[in-house]
């Protein structure tokens, strides 16, 4: 085995990059801030936001009823906000894109709100704008790599955010086919 290269990662290099060994507190922090929330949100997404799921038509009819009776805001206030604000610092864009970013929010997590991949400004894994914060795409990659899906990072071509949905319930919008995932 070649000696690990201490600093720089090269895609086609046979020399592995020396990974920093994380302390116990670092590993616990990673589990609490990344691995557990990722697992929880991924499971919830697969249960409630999969248009091919058996219960999807039920959710669709429920969303339709709420929209027609002008009660969609209730879902947002009572269910969506209390869950998504603490977990994701949700900005209520109404056109949720967390599923493209390993269940991290591009609106609150990235100063440039990039939905299609990292900007070129990051440095050693940290954000160009806030150098104390890890780049949201780096965090997303680590989350995906942990469950063996690192290669799927940023594969989707995400359409522009729909500003007409701002401050509305992204859950209702999804089931009504109003957001960017309508197709």
């Amino acid at each position: 085995m070649a000696k690990p290269n201490a600093k720089v990662y090269y895609c086609f290099d046979k020399v592995p990059v020396l990974e920093e060994k994380k302390s116990l507190s670092g590993r616990i922090k990673e589990k609490l801030t990344d691995q557990y929330p990722h697992g929880f949100l991924r499971t919830a997404h697969n249960l409630f936001f999969d248009k091919t799921a058996r219960l999807a038509p039920v959710y669709g009819r429920l969303a339709d009823f709420l929209e027609k009776s002008n009660k969609a805001w209730l879902v947002k206030r009572i269910l969506e906000d209390p869950l998504k604000k603490p977990l994701l610092s949700c900005q209520s864009c109404g056109d949720c894109a967390i599923q493209h970013l390993a269940f991290l929010c591009p609106e609150s997590g990235c100063p440039k709100h990039t939905r299609n991949g990292a900007c070129g400004g990051s440095r050693d894994g940290f954000c160009e704008v806030d150098p104390d914060r890890r780049c949201v795409w780096v965090r997303a990659y680590d989350r995906l790599k942990h469950c063996g899906r690192g290669h799927t990072l940023g594969q989707d071509l995400v359409p522009p955010r729909m500003w007409e949905l701002n401050k509305t319930s992204s859950w209702v919008n999804f089931h009504l086919g109003k957001d960017h995932q309508k197709d």
């Binding site: 895609c11 990059v17 709100h113 299609n116 990292a118 070129g120 990659y141 940023g154 594969q155």
Partner: protein
């Protein structure tokens, strides 16, 4: 007014050279005259295919590349306009793209852009309604409308990539986004500024592995101590100058500015040769602020350059010793 850049770079036999011009925060005066002078000299010289003009670099307000570009374009020089997503929403961006099309300047470098810097009264509001992938898609969709309105001269959109990332996550994220930009319709690629030859090679290898062969230009910069310090400290987003190179630049300029500039020109020339050897289709020269002379000298240096041996390539200019395969490749060029 000539649009030669797209033809020049599309021909695999050409090695294209473009110059980057950085306007300041003035609408007239010496700095603007200097930039126009550089562009005119480059046009007279005949070896430069286009000048590219930055769009509020660092997020700080500066003269619009559209107006300066148009003045240069009218003189005959082809222009690449940098188009960032920071200052305009999608409505403003489409309007600007239509304006550029109307003015005939259709070489666009589509960028997400640096974050907002300070303008009148403080930091500006960052817009970032789109990112570079969506901007490229927008320009491609405008092509259809240009055709429908009877204009066969379409946008020639390029993109940037920053291969000089140190972590696995950033590197893969950069290449993933590059693939998307190319799929969205980018016709050429310009790298960010860096001095790691293995990374330059990595980019080309990645593209070949993906079965893509777009024209790629490497950024080359005449490093002064001031610019090297800014890049080393991370004050120029995306640009990377390693500690070893920074120390070397300081040492080179320590004796006299003249010898420092000469070494900077030599380094640019050497990097140009290496990039050509690696399969890059051109170089994008930055850091020209006073006159076109330095570019001419870099060119001459490049032509005269002979490979003196492995040692030169293994000096501390580069963060890592250059692999033997690249040295052999460069040797084979001469």
């Amino acid at each position: 007014m000539l649009r030669i850049f797209s033809h020049a770079i599309s021909n695999p036999e050409n090695f294209v050279v473009t110059l980057e011009l950085v306007p300041g925060r003035e609408s007239a005066g010496r700095s603007i005259d200097t930039l126009k002078g550089i562009a005119k000299d480059a046009f007279s010289d005949g070896r430069i295919s286009a000048v590219s003009i930055t769009d509020n670099p660092g997020g700080n307000p500066s003269l619009s590349p559209d107006v300066l570009g148009y003045e240069i374009f009218k003189c005959g020089m082809d222009v690449i306009v940098h188009f960032t997503c920071r200052d305009l929403n999608r409505v403003g961006m489409e309007s600007r793209a239509l304006q550029l099309a109307r003015m005939g300047m259709k070489n666009i470098l589509a960028l997400t852009g640096d974050y907002s810097g300070k303008g009148f009264g403080g930091q500006g509001k960052p817009v970032f309604d789109f990112d570079s992938v969506l901007l490229t898609t927008l320009l491609k969709s405008l092509d259809q409308r240009l055709l429908a309105s009877g204009d066969p001269d379409l946008f020639f959109t390029g993109c940037a990539v920053s291969p000089f990332k140190t972590t696995e996550a950033e590197t893969l994220a950069q290449y993933g986004k590059l693939d998307k930009k190319l799929m969205a319709g980018a016709s050429f690629v310009i790298t960010q500024l860096g001095y790691d030859v293995k990374k330059f090679k990595e980019l080309i290898t990645h593209l070949h592995q993906r079965g893509m062969n777009p024209p790629v230009m490497g950024s080359v910069y005449l490093l002064s101590p001031r610019s090297a310090r800014a890049m080393n400290k991370g004050r120029v987003p995306g640009a990377h100058v390693a500690d070893t190179l920074f120390d070397q630049v300081i040492k080179e300029w320590g004796g006299s500015p003249r010898s420092g500039l000469k070494t900077a020109i030599d380094r640019a020339a050497k990097l140009g040769v290496i990039l050509k050897g690696l399969g890059y289709r051109g170089i994008h020269i930055g850091g020209i602020h006073r006159s076109f002379k330095a570019v001419g000298r870099s060119w001459t240096g490049w032509r005269k350059l002979r490979i003196p041996g492995k040692r030169m390539w293994e000096n501390s200019t580069w963060p890592n010793p250059m692999p033997r395969s690249i040295i052999a490749l460069i040797r084979s060029l001469f």
